[in-house]
Each structure stands twice: as structure tokens, then as C-alpha cells.
Amino acid sequence: MIYPKLAAPSAVGDDLLLLPRGMSWRDHLISLLHAAAELEHGFMVQYLYAAYSIDTDVADPALARKVLKWRGDILTVAKEEMGHLLTVQNALCLLSGPVSVGRPNFPWDSPFTPYPFHLRPLSLESLSLFVHGERPDDRTLGALGKRLSGRNALESIGIHGPQIEKCIRPLLSEQPSRVRVGAIYDRIIETLEHPSRIPDSAFCAERYSSQASWDEWGRRYRPAPAEPGQRTPDKGESKSEIIIRRMSSRTDAIEALRHVAGQGEAAHIQSRMREEKSHFERFVEIYSQFADTPAPPVHFVPTNPNTDSSRHRDAGTITSRVSRIWADLFNCRYRILLTYLTHTFRLVRGGAGSTLRGDVLQKIFGEMYNLKAIAGVLARSPMHDDPDRRERAGAPFAMPYDLTLPLDDIDCWRMHRDILGRSQRLCTVLLAAGDALRPEGRVFLEALSELDEQADRWIRSILDGLGDTRGRR
């Protein structure tokens, strides 16, 4: 455990000694929430990368079904991590703190991470880490065992436990005893629970309308309502639930964060979620199947792909000229997504900018689809322009240098337009690549260019509305 359990507050003043130097309890809480957001973001991206690395083009129909299910399950977990990320942002909104969707680049290790974070293709190694990262504490694991008696996941952890241990030991750097991901939520909740540390006045219920809601983001990822006359939804078609909780009070915040922590580890499961598998269980199941599959089909993509300059090249550096531009385009669209995401928290639901909020929200979903498409293209593109090498490029998920929004709204929109312009230029360069471009890549770029022209018209219209007169075409 990175954090010893906090003692209950005693006298005013003593408590401050438990804090990092120079911080108030609110500061500390916000820094913890930022750390939690980074973690959730990091998990999400690792899972996306692993899912995109799966090669679904297999001849054996049974294997094809199996790998499609792996991909679907991992993507579902990634979507749920996105929900966690948004819920954490909502908590930051509630505390009037700055939203934070940034994270360090890969590789990334810190006392908060349950293992050093890397972008790894799907393998027994990466799955071991995912299992480890989502593993509940021993007490919860025991409870889970009772609940899951006879289920594959538990049997799998029993069978594969030593293998997993063996696999992850060398990967944990010099800290074999790492934190559980839930530990940071334990600390956040402990901090939140005490009014003497976080007084009621710290909570800004007015921010409720800026917070992300399930209605906006959930996209039906939760079980259908129970049949008439029934009280509990049948898990039915929905194997998952994206948790996006809004909050207006301390009680709401604690409840929401407990729920988020529980979804990963099954530690604080709500009654309606009893049939839903935790992330831990899902990864154990995939691990088990993956281990039993001879030559599981995975693209030969690198660990930590990047487009770093020649001075900083490493084994993950994509050197193929065209693939590098695709990777740059991926990073550019990733930046667009994160910038829009940050912006949504400034745009109030139901207020003057509510339509803009809706527009931006749809753009974010659109960028998710773009990332999916480009990640697929990269996984089929050469990493190097050397016909004898069979490595494929991968989606680099590089963080932009900064995600801070400018002060004025008008400048935010100028920034969106500027980033979009970079993407448009990358598309133009790629489209000039001639035969180096696969047909599906070309048609996608043509479509993306059209979409960007539409988006540019949209942003220009907004800038017009804001009275912008600079740099007009």
C-alpha cells in the first residue's frame, strides 16, 4: 500500500501533518483525483492498444469468434475506464478543481501505478499485468471466490495464478509489492469522508450542469431496465455498464467513486451489478483462453510505438515514412479528442452554450471512431520501410505537449481550428503518398478530409458568432 490508512481526524491542525508539504486537504484531494484520472486514462489506453493489436483476420471460424470476443471484451473494459475517467472529472468539477484528462507518456511508472505502464500488444505478459492491475485485495478476492464458485474465472486464477505471478515479477521493476489500483480510491474516499478535512463549502453543486452525464455519454452501455413487474434488470444482452455518475454533494461523490473502484475490482458491487463481471474477472477469463490458444492471432506491433525524432529512437519508433505520418495523424486526432473533452466541461448543459456542448460531445465520439479506424490502419501498416521486416506499426497514443485550454472561449475555438488544420495537412501529405497507401486508407482519408472541412466550417461559424475577425479566409 502506498498510503497507510488515515487516522480519523483528531484535533484541528494535527491532521495537516498527514499531508504533503504545502498542501491543504482540498489540494491533496484534487491531486489524488488528478492521479486517479491519469490512472484511468492510462488503463484505458493500454487496453485499447491491446484490443487493436488483435488480428481478427483468421480462417478458423471458431478462432475468429473467440478473438472477436476478446477484442469486444477488452474494448468494453476500456469504455468502462472512460466512464471512470469522466466520473473522476465530475468529482473535480464538484470541488471546483481543474479537470484533468492528461497523463504521462508511455512508458510510465510511478508510485500510483500497479505496474509500469507500457503500450503492449495482447500477450500473456500484458494480460498478466492487466489481471494484476485489476486484482482486488485478498479479502475481496476471497469473497469473490465464494460468489463465483465453479465459474471459469476463479478456476482460471487458480490454475494460472502461479503463471501470472511468474510473468509479472520481472515486469514490476524493483517494486514487487505494488499498489492496487483501488488503493487510490480508498484514499480519496477516506479524505472525502471527513468534513473537517473537506468542508461542505468545498463542494460546488452549481457545477452539476457542467458534469458529464450517462445520458450524454453512456450510449446504451448498461443493462436494459427490468421487465415490467421485475425489480432487477436482467443482464441480458448487456455485459457491461458504463458508470458515469454526476454528483452534487459529498455523499454523491463518495457513492460514485466507490462504484467506480468496485467496477474494476468487484470490491464495492452494487446490487444491480451482481451479474456483471469485474474487469479482473474478464481479464482472467481472456488470459485463460489466450493461454490455451496455440498461436493466438496478434498483429506484430511494437511495445510503446512512437514517432520520436531520430535522436530518441528506440525499438518502438516507427520509421516507415508513410506509417509515421499515419501515426502522427493518430496523435493529432487523439489531441483533438482530448481537447474537445476538456472543453465540454466548460460548456454548460442547458445554458447558452448547450447546443455547442452537444456538438462537441458528438465530435468526441466521432474522434473515437477515427482513432479506431487509424489504429486499424496502423496495425496493418509496416513499421519500417524494409520489406524483409514484418513488424507492423501501432497506435502511439502520444500525449500532446499541453491540454490546457486558453482563457477565452474564442481562443479555445481558434485552438481547435489550428489542431484541425494540422490534421488536414497530414491528410494531404498522406494522400500524396501514391501507391504506398492502401485503398481503404485512401478512401478513409478522403472521407476524413471531408469531415474536417465540415468541422472547419462549423468552427468558423462559431468564431463568427463570437465576433472573431482574425485570419478570415
Binding site: P225, S238, V443, A447
Partner: protein, 820 residues
């Protein structure tokens, strides 16, 4: 080569009305120059019919939809005769070929069309308007003059004409052209009930007596009954109540209520109804269409905003549908073939295809609801892509924020005709937006659909099958159900629109395919099974575009969510799918028995309901037999007030105590047709007549029902792609449509066929987010969308359309108004 059989292709062709003397030039619709753009209208060779009945060629020229006088150019399609040879090949038949085989060959045509819209509402066969061009072999135009026992003496209605084209060396094929009518409205002469604001039917088109049954028709009996007992504060109902009571008190009745209705109300309220009366009344109520009162009525209209009062103006349009037959006497043999024609309104958005078209339903009737096992995967993926393309083409013309059920500039969303409002009326529940308010705007949602399309183009497999609405779940009005795709639009059953099973399974199948496999050989090889070869040929025939025909003559340009539809009401075709019984087109009520029912050993089931079809039992993997039922109704559920997210409640009401809704036939019967066409299944009926309420089959208590053997008729005539004549006689495929169709353009709002009868046009991004644009029916294009309240004078009114529809209707190309 010996000619074995004949075909007329296309087997179903759509003519479109217009008064310009020169028909619309031929064009095809091609993929856009850029992936997300509008489809390209590409002119092709146009065949001009000369005075002597021969053809000449007009080279491709820019397409103009109206002539210089603002008249709409009709779509006048050709029908070609093809020969099936002994070798099984299908080839265009030429006169030279025939003469080579037999110099004395004769080629004759016959055409039977009808307009049965009035008959569909009154139930009186004497309201049927029929026209026949009896066997002819010349090349003169043969007018299709519609006549009807209820027309005033010597009156007729002009459905257009047909002409056998004279073959020449340059154009030797055997073909016929159908030129539809001008799109005129016919009606009663000097109607004393006509209000000053109403359109005046010119004398030349006065075909009805103003006191005739159609001019005096109404469909508000239920309301009058209710109103007679009314003591509330609603002024309109109060007025009616007073009139009804006045009648009952022996005072002079008001002219507002029909004598006939009052007489019935009187008998009803005085308890003097005998059982035969009741049966007769039920049978009359059973004639109600869905949606109800689909005809031009005296103001105020529409009826659902005006207490359901719907007095007919007695209007009828000049559209029709029917059968074309060709008869060739060759070497002592007589070869024949048939095809179907229909005429409908113009395709006003010619560069756009709707999400679910008639072609989708016809294809489902050919291939069944599942993806054929031998369908190459690139074809499946292409079909999935096409569906997604059509989804954003549809969204383009839908004001999504309004259709979502949101207020517009502070105006109450309940004032607008939308699917959420329709749902609220139907279920008697408060109205709620479908998606989160403020999250849905046309441009943003269209772009999102385009992003999906782009990702699929890049090789991603569809990841969204679970978002699609199952045709069985159209009654799920929880947010979970309402947010399924396609969203915000109405299906043929009045619930939220679902795609065909065949469309849905294509997307599911594409989702299971590996990413970006373009160019890979088809799984399992390309050889087609013989059974599927027939299906493929049928499919080719359905999609055949005869030389010279504009693309808008094809089923791909006709909407399939027939509520009631624009060109055809495909719901009508399923009514006689089971031998012996006639079903209502929009639900499971048996409205008639065929003459042969006793021979089939069926009891008289009129008034009963067909609740389910039982297919032969299936055997599960453990070898156990289990019943296989296909239900014809669905449970209506909505969010539970105690916890809308996690619980649901039955949507019951006084009119619908079981909370049930009908399911559209096309999807419901797709499996029955595909698996058991021509064979016997078991129909499960109510044991008694249930005229007015929906009823369901309870699988857990399968005892209190009547189980009867039913034989499933084939959908297509033997070996051909012609919808069976047994299933629909001339006039029946259009009988459920609005009378006149112009009424439909006024009443069927954005949530029906956004890309066929558009809602939102000239759309641009708004400086405050979202979009601006015009309502298609807006008289002045201001860029400020006028939501449809049916009262706003800024919108084209019913009478504007009746009087001047050709001038007022604006074609849309590239999402913009075009003058021509």
C-alpha cells in the same frame, strides 16, 4: 434459341406524376465524387417516344425536374419484355428475333389499374376506380380512364396512358411505356360544405356528387360517442356533446355532424343496438386506416389535433397501381408475362436514398431474413456500408433536435408533430425527448454517422450491431429502447422504425468479419446453390432498370416504412399471405374470409385475431423439441416512474388494457415466408371475435386459443420477381395511401421519410452551435426553421398544396433547393 418463357422487366416499376408534357430524362445514381458527398445524378441516354410510337434518342443532358413553366416532369417508365431461353438465359426480346421464329407473330398488351383509396375507407366496392386498356397491339397511346359506379354519370379520372412502342432497327426491343397522370385532384362538384378557404375542384374534375358517400364520409364515430357523455370544460367537445344531446332531445341537428353518425349514436345511447348492429358497427370501425383518417378533410385539420373529427372533402388523386400483361402468339403457342406498375408523387430528393426502402423489403422476401450462407463477405460488407451511408443521407434532412422532442426557441415540443409526441399520444404518457436534450443536432449527428461510415471504409468492422432496434422491440419506449437505431422515425407498425431483418443481419454478419479483408475471395468459394441462383435472378430482375428509365422509377427510391407510404403501401401485400383469410394491413385482425375458406376447412374467422404463427417444432442441441412461435404483437413498455433507468412498466390505457401494439407484417412474416412459403403452418387465433382491442398469445398458457392450419402463399409468382397477383389486386398496393397523396406531404412530418419527404433543408452551421435551415414546407426560405404546428401560416397549407403543389414543392439536390 427457343423461347421458353417471357418476363416483363422491371417486374415492379414506379411512375411519378407531373403535368409537364415531356417526361423526366433518364438518369442513374452513382457513388459521389467524394465519399461523404451526395450521390451523383448522372444523365443517361433518354428515349423519346415520337408521334408514330417509335423511339428516338436524346443524348445525356443535364437533368431538370421541372420544365420552364414550372411543371413537374413525370417519370414515365418503360417496361421491357425479356425472353427466358431453353438454355435458361434471360435476354431482351426483339421483334426481329420473334419474326425470325414466326413471321406471323403477334404481340399484345393489356393493362389493368385501379385506385382503391376510397374503397379502402368506405368498404364499398362501388367506390373502386378502375381503368383497363384491353388487349391492344397498336402503337397508339391508350388512355387509362378510371371509372367508378359512384362517379357522376360519364365522369372519369385520368390515370395517364400506356403505349406499345413500335420497334425499329435502332430500337428493336419489345417494350411498353407507362405515362402516369398529371397529379391532379378530383372531387365533388359544388360542395355546400366547402369553406371559403378550401380549394375549388375545377368542373372538369368534378367526379363526385357533393351528397355522395365519399363527400359525406367521416370517421369520428368513437368521438361522437364519447362526446355525447362529455360534461367537461373543453369547448370543442362541449359543442359536440351539445349537438349530440340536441339530437337525442329531438332538436334540429347541426350540420356539423353527419345524420348517419347521429343516428348511430342515438341508437347506441338508447341501448337499441342489436347484436348484428354491433357487428356491423365493429366491421365499420375495423375499416379505419393506420394512421387514421388519411384523407383530405374539411378544416380544421389534421383531425388528431381537432378531436378526431374528419369530414371528407371527397378528394381523390390520379395515382394508381396495377398489372401490365403481354401476350405473344408464336408458332401456335401463347407466351405471357406480367409486371406491376404504380404511380406516385415525385422523388423530390433524387440524390438521396432512404434508410429502408421498398427494395430492402423486396430483397428480404427473396433471400429471407438472414444473410445467405453463400453470400460473399465483400457483398455483405458492402450492404452494411450502404445501410450506414443511407443512415446519414436520411439524417441530413431531419431536424434532429426537433425530432428528438426538444422545444424549439421556447415553443413547447408537444406542439410539434414528432415521434416522441406521437409516442406520448399513443401511450397516454408525458412526452420525453429521446436523447439527452441539447445533445442532438442535425449536422453533429450527421457527421457522427459519417465518421462511422469513414471508419468502416477504413476497414473497421461494424461495432454497433447491438444498437440496432430489433423488429420485435418496437414497443419498447424506455430510453433504452428508444435510443436504438434508427432513432426518431416511425415504422410501418406505428412504433419506432426498425430495419428489415435482412438489413440487421447484414450488419451483424459484417461485424463478425475480420477487419479490412477487401479483395479476399468469398468464404467457401463463389459457386451458388441452385436455389440461390433463382433468388439471385429474382434479385437481378427486381433491380433491373430498363433502358431510358430514370433511377427514381426503381424500388430503391420508394420508402418502405409504410405509415402509410408514398409510392406503395407494402403492408397491403401481406393481407392474403395465408390462404383463406384476409388480414388488416396494419394489425392482426381478420377482416375477411376468402371464398374458398370452407373448402380449406376454416371456420369464419372474421373479427378474430391471428395472434401468432406456430412453425414446426425446433429441436435444441440436447435433442429436446421446443415450440417455435412467431408473435404478431409486442408488449408496449415504458420507463417506470419509480426508477426510469432500471425498471419498466406496462403501457396500458383504457383503449389498450393489455398494453399491446401490432408488429409490421413485412418483418414478422419474413421467416414464415422464407422457411414455409407454399407450405402449411399453424395459425393461432383468438377463440372469439376481438374487433377493437389488441390481444396477445401467451406461450405459457397455450390452451385458450384456436389453432388452425394455414397455407403460406408464395410472395412472388412462380419463377418470377412479380409480386403475386393473388396477394394484391390492382389498386390494393396503393389503397392505404393518403387520398389525395398531397395530404401526406402536409401531414407526414419529419419522422416518417426525412430523405423522401424532407423536413430540414438548406442546412448550415449556426454561430451558436447546432444548425440553421428551412423547413421544406416553409414558404419563404429565411434560414429560420419553422417547426410544424399545422397552424403556422409560414408553412405551405393543405390547400396551397392541393391547388399549387407543382409550383410549391421544391426539389432538393445537394441538400439545397433547386428551381428545376
Amino acid at each position: 434459341m427457343t423461347i421458353r418463357e417471357l418476363r416483363i422487366l422491371p417486374p415492379l416499376v414506379i411512375g411519378r406524376v407531373g403535368s409537364a408534357p415531356e417526361p423526366l430524362d433518364s438518369y442513374t445514381l452513382e457513388e459521389p465524387a467524394r465519399p461523404l458527398g451526395f450521390r451523383r445524378i448522372v444523365p443517361t441516354d433518354t428515349l423519346i417516344v415520337e408521334a408514330d410510337g417509335t423511339l428516338s434518342l436524346a443524348k445525356p443532358r443535364p437533368i431538370t425536374f421541372k420544365d420552364e413553366k414550372g411543371r413537374i416532369r413525370p417519370v414515365a417508365p418503360f417496361l421491357e419484355v425479356h425472353a427466358v431461353t431453353d438454355e435458361g438465359q434471360q435476354e431482351r426480346l426483339t421483334l426481329d428475333w420473334l419474326k425470325d421464329l414466326d413471321p406471323n407473330v403477334t404481340v399484345e398488351w393489356r393493362v389493368d389499374v385501379a385506385n382503391r383509396k376510397v374503397e379502402r375507407r368506405t368498404g364499398d366496392p362501388d367506390d373502386r376506380v378502375t381503368a383497363t386498356a384491353d388487349w391492344f397491339a397498336d402503337h397508339e397511346p391508350h388512355p387509362l380512364q378510371g371509372r367508378c359506379p359512384h362517379f357522376i354519370p360519364d365522369a372519369h379520372l385520368d390515370f395517364g396512358h400506356v403505349r406499345y412502342i413500335a420497334a425499329t432497327k435502332a430500337y428493336p426491343d419489345i417494350r411498353l411505356r407507362f405515362t402516369p397522370a398529371a397529379g391532379l385532384i378530383y372531387g365533388p362538384a359544388d360542395d355546400p360544405k366547402r369553406q371559403d378557404s378550401e380549394y375549388v375542384v375545377p368542373g372538369a374534375r368534378a367526379i363526385y356528387d357533393a351528397n355522395g358517400s365519399w363527400s359525406r364520409f367521416h370517421s369520428y364515430l368513437g368521438l361522437a360517442e364519447e362526446a355525447a357523455e362529455y360534461h367537461g370544460g373543453d369547448s370543442r367537445k362541449k359543442e359536440i356533446a351539445e349537438e349530440v344531446r340536441g339530437r337525442l332531445d329531438g332538436k334540429r341537428p347541426s350540420e356539423k355532424l353527419g345524420e348517419e353518425v347521429l343516428a348511430e349514436v342515438e341508437r347506441l345511447l338508447k341501448g337499441r343496438f342489436t347484436e348484428p348492429d354491433r357487428q356491423q358497427r365493429s366491421a365499420r370501425l375495423a375499416l379505419e386506416t393506420q394512421p387514421p383518417s388519411l384523407y383530405a378533410m374539411h378544416p380544421p385539420a389534421p383531425c388528431w389535433l381537432n378531436d378526431g373529427i374528419a369530414f371528407s372533402r371527397g378528394y381523390l388523386d390520379d395515382t394508381c397501381d396495377g398489372i401490365v400483361e403481354v401476350r405473344i402468339r408464336l408458332n401456335g403457342r401463347t407466351l405471357t408475362a406480367v409486371a406491376r406498375i404504380c404511380s406516385g408523387p415525385p422523388a423530390v430528393v433524387p440524390d438521396t436514398l432512404f434508410i429502408r426502402t421498398l427494395a430492402d423489403d423486396l430483397d428480404q422476401a427473396i433471400f429471407g431474413p438472414k444473410v445467405p450462407g453463400d453470400e460473399p463477405r465483400e457483398e455483405t460488407r458492402a450492404r452494411a456500408l450502404d445501410i450506414v451511408r443511407r443512415s446519414f443521407e436520411t439524417v441530413r434532412f431531419l431536424n434532429v433536435a426537433v425530432a428528438n422532442g426538444e422545444p424549439h426557441l421556447g415553443q413547447d415540443a408537444l406542439d410539434f408533430d414528432t415521434m416522441p409526441a406521437e409516442e406520448a399520444f399513443q401511450t397516454l404518457r408525458m412526452m420525453r425527448p429521446i436523447m439527452a436534450e441539447g445533445s442532438a443536432d442535425t449536422l453533429a449527428i450527421m457527421a457522427l454517422h459519417q465518421e462511422v461510415y469513414a471508419a468502416l471504409l477504413a476497414g473497421a468492422a461494424p461495432w454497433f450491431p447491438r444498437l440496432l432496434r430489433s423488429p420485435n422491440d418496437v414497443g419498447d419506449f424506455t430510453d433504452h429502447g428508444r435510443r436504438r437505431m434508427p432513432a426518431m422515425m416511425c415504422g410501418a407498425d406505428g412504433g419506432y422504425l426498425a430495419l428489415t431483418y435482412r438489413q440487421i443481419t447484414a450488419i451483424f454478419k459484417a461485424a463478425s468479419l475480420p477487419d479490412a479483408h477487401a479483395g479476399l475471395p468469398p468464404a467457401g468459394g463463389a459457386a451458388l446453390a441452385p436455389r440461390n441462383a433463382t433468388a439471385r435472378r429474382r434479385h437481378g430482375d427486381v433491380h433491373h432498370r430498363a433502358t431510358g428509365n430514370p433511377f427514381s422509377s426503381t424500388p430503391r427510391t420508394s420508402v418502405a416504412n409504410c405509415t402509410p407510404g408514398l409510392e406503395l403501401d407494402l403492408r397491403a401485400v401481406w393481407r392474403r399471405l395465408f390462404q383463406g383469410i384476409v388480414l388488416r394491413e396494419w394489425d392482426n385482425l381478420v377482416v375477411g374470409m376468402e371464398d374458398e375458406y370452407e373448402r380449406l376447412e376454416l371456420p369464419d374467422l372474421k373479427g378474430h385475431r391471428l395472434l401468432a404463427i406456430q412453425l414446426p417444432r425446433e429441436t435444441d442441441t440436447a435433442g429436446r423439441e421446443k415450440p417455435d412461435y412467431i408473435h404478431t404483437t409486442t408488449q408496449l413498455i415504458g420507463p417506470s416512474p419509480e426508477d426510469p433507468e432500471t425498471r419498466s412498466a406496462l403501457l396500458v390505457s383504457a383503449n389498450n388494457p393489455r398494453g399491446l401494439g401490432p408488429l409490421e407484417w413485412s418483418n414478422t412474416l419474413a421467416r414464415v415466408l422464407h422457411e414455409r412459403g407454399g407450405e402449411q403452418v399453424t395459425g393461432i387465433f383468438t377463440p372469439a371475435k376481438v374487433w377493437e382491442e389488441q390481444y396477445a398469445f401467451d406461450e405459457n398458457e397455450p390452451t385458450d386459443y384456436t389453432f388452425l392450419p394455414l397455407t403460406v402463399r408464395p410472395f412472388y409468382e412462380d419463377g418470377t420477381a412479380v409480386i403475386s397477383r393473388t396477394l394484391a389486386e390492382p389498386g390494393e398496393l396503393t389503397q392505404g395511401l393518403c387520398s389525395p397523396w398531397q395530404n401526406d406531404y402536409r401531414e407526414c412530418s419529419c419522422y416518417y421519410w426525412a430523405s423522401a419527404r424532407p423536413d430540414y433543408v438548406n442546412v448550415e452551421p449556426s454561430p451558436t452551435g447546432g444548425s440553421t435551415g428551412d423547413n421544406w414546407l416553409q414558404k419563404v426560405r429565411s434560414g429560420d426553421y419553422v417547426p410544424d404546428t399545422y397552424e403556422d401560416a409560414r408553412l405551405i397549407s393543405y390547400d396551397d398544396l392541393f391547388a399549387n403543389w407543382e409550383t410549391l414543392i421544391k426539389f432538393q439536390v445537394g441538400g439545397r433547393d433547386v428551381d428545376q
